[in-house]
Amino acid sequence: MTRSKWLSWSGILIMLGLLLFAFIWHLSIGTKIIPIDELIQSFYAYNQDNFNHLIIQELRLPRALIAICVGACLAVSGALMQGVTRNPLADPGLLGMLTGAALGVVYWSTFVSSASLVWLPLVAAIGALISAIIVWSIASRVTGGITPLSLILSGSAFTAFTGALLAIHHLLDQHTFEEMRTWLVGSLLASNLATLYWCLPWIIIGLVAAIMLAPSVTALSMGEEVATGLGINIPRRKWQLLTCVVILTSVSVALAGPLGFIGLVIPHVVRFWVGADYRWIIPYCILLGAVYLLFVDTLARWLIQPHEIATGLITILIGAPLFIWLVKVRVR
């Protein structure tokens, strides 16, 4: 085993430790701080009459699990997009996929049915896919082709359009808006395990596919000529990757609403450590994304007790300055 490989594996172990730490922190901190021994006790000796056990198992555990899944999914989809488009600013939120998926979910739960959770990930996926295709085709028609600038601009035009549609919908249908309001800024507040069960298969498919496709993302990130030279069927591989990105994005929207900038922040931090090899970037993104969202969600609950800030707002407040810095440094 070479030295760098050894380093990478030990890094994974460190990240796993960090994840465990963040998980426990997330569970124990809140409006009521629960001591760690009682927290661990609630897992092996669950007592229904103990109020602390109830808080952990019924309220905080689902939320923590969802935070882990959503963080991992968004980070990986951001990393894949940045690799494939060779665009340091790619992020599911900036390209309109998050609002597209959110619009799909809002229309679905208004016009078709609000009760069924089965179709929710699929509806979000269709919304995300359609918006990805629209934004992509606008950007590819711009003179100069797909550049960071054209993608961001067409993404922001699309976001403005869907935002207006959402605003109109909100005016016409106050009831759904009340239900959806916290969800629309990106929040883990209303998380329940039933949605997670329906999303879990998709999450596993998406993440496994991402890990399997990672070597060819490395090749694609070096340019299409290199990838062709290495024997990759580019159009087919791109479609596979797009499907993967759409699955991951839409699942996270279905679970937590549009959480901006996670897909931008995490891959850049990861790349800072492990370099440009996507075989390592993807696993690190999964772990760091999970840790990051757990951390942010804990902050969101803890900063102004007994209220809580919507998680999506904090991710934007952290992510937007990084975006500005990237524009400054990485865009020609």
Binding site: L89, L153, S156, F158, P321, I324
Partner: protein
């Protein structure tokens, strides 16, 4: 079809395009017609005869006694606010596009509207007692400080970076606004929310006066700057070569543009895409010198916002859509179209 107007021993000389003049006259009558249409529309429909008579002050020939109150208290200020704010947004966009030599600049895309919005929402939520007197000033200060921040960030880079940085700053500010909205008490949060949607719903005569003064000031300043505009659009080197103090002129024009957007935002809220659309449509109608172009742009902006207001009022009546939503619905696809057809 050109003729030249020379006044005061050629101190002022204007080259006037006849076709553009015709276009302005046409747009002006279109604006007038839309305006009259707007006064008859609403939850209490009035006949055209009544509203015209009431506007002309001929109370004795008005049939419906309600007409005067409805026209003078509600519909007239509302329509005037729509017209004036549309013209201001359009002028701001035209200046900004000319200055950055970038057809995609718009006060709402580069963070000016968001800066004004942040200041006004902060004022509404945290200091609700001062909102009536200080709204315009706060909006202006907010817009100016965000513009300065973006300019400092941009440094000497490519003009297009201005837009990308604006997108980032806008995202950051919207997050702050949303957090403010979540933690303000309910009445002030609702007031801020309806303002944020960009609506002319609560217009009164105070707003009209404010906008009117701002419009007169700004249109005269822009017309005074119009000659410089055409020189600046030729490029930095050429402009300097022609003997223009580029930095000073840029600063003046940026200030005018920010002021126009800020005042309009303070009254109606952040209306998207008007500053982007109006100059383009005006240029599509007729290619002409900067003075004519500015007039046409202001007219087009006024018509657009007024029309958006009418559409928003009637589309899902009795629910009223904010004019801002309508302009975003029309503006965003057009922005995409411009993006696709733009030649670099």
């Amino acid at each position: 079809m050109h003729f030249t107007l020379r006044l005061f021993n050629q101190a002022i000389s204007l080259r006037i395009n006849g076709y553009a003049l015709l276009c302005s006259a046409f747009l002006f009558s279109l604006l007038l017609a839309t305006f009259l249409f707007a006064t008859t529309q609403g939850s209490y429909p009035l006949s055209l005869h009544d509203s015209v008579m009431s506007l002309l002050g001929q109370q004795q020939s008005v049939i419906d006694p309600q007409t005067d109150v409805i026209i003078w208290e509600f519909r007239l200020p509302r329509s005037l606010v729509a017209i004036l704010s549309g013209a201001l947004f359009a002028l701001s966009g035209a200046l900004l596009q000319n200055m950055t030599r970038n057809p995609l600049s718009d006060p709402s895309l580069v963070g000016i509207s968001q800066g004004a919005a942040l200041a006004v929402v902060t004022l509404t939520i945290l200091f609700p007692n001062y909102i009536d007197d200080w709204r315009e000033i706060a909006a202006f200060l907010g817009a100016v400080s965000i513009t300065i921040v973006i300019q400092l960030l941009r440094g000497n880079d490519h003009p297009l970076k201005f837009i990308l940085l604006g997108v980032g700053v806008a995202a950051f500010i919207s997050a702050i606004i949303s957090s403010l909205l979540t933690y303000g008490d309910l009445p002030s949060a609702m007031a801020a929310l309806s303002w944020l949607a960009g609506s002319t719903h609560n217009s009164n005569w105070h707003d009209v006066n404010m906008l009117c003064m701002a419009f007169i000031l700004i249109i005269s300043l822009t017309l005074y700057q119009a000659r410089m505009m055409s020189v600046i659009s030729l490029g930095d080197e050429v402009a300097i070569g022609l003997g223009i103090n580029l930095k000073a002129i840029m600063l003046i024009q940026l200030t005018i543009s920010v002021a126009a957007a800020a005042v309009a935002t303070a009254v109606v809220g952040p209306l998207g895409f008007i500053g982007l659309l109006a100059p383009h449509l005006a240029r599509k109608l007729v290619r002409c010198g900067p003075v004519n172009h500015l007039f046409l742009t202001a007219l087009v902006g006024a018509i657009l916002v007024l029309a958006a207001d009418i559409i928003g009022k009637n589309l899902f009546a009795p629910t009223q859509l904010a004019a801002g939503s309508v302009t975003a619905l029309i503006g965003a696809p057009l922005f995409a179209y411009l993006l696709m057809t733009k030649k670099t």
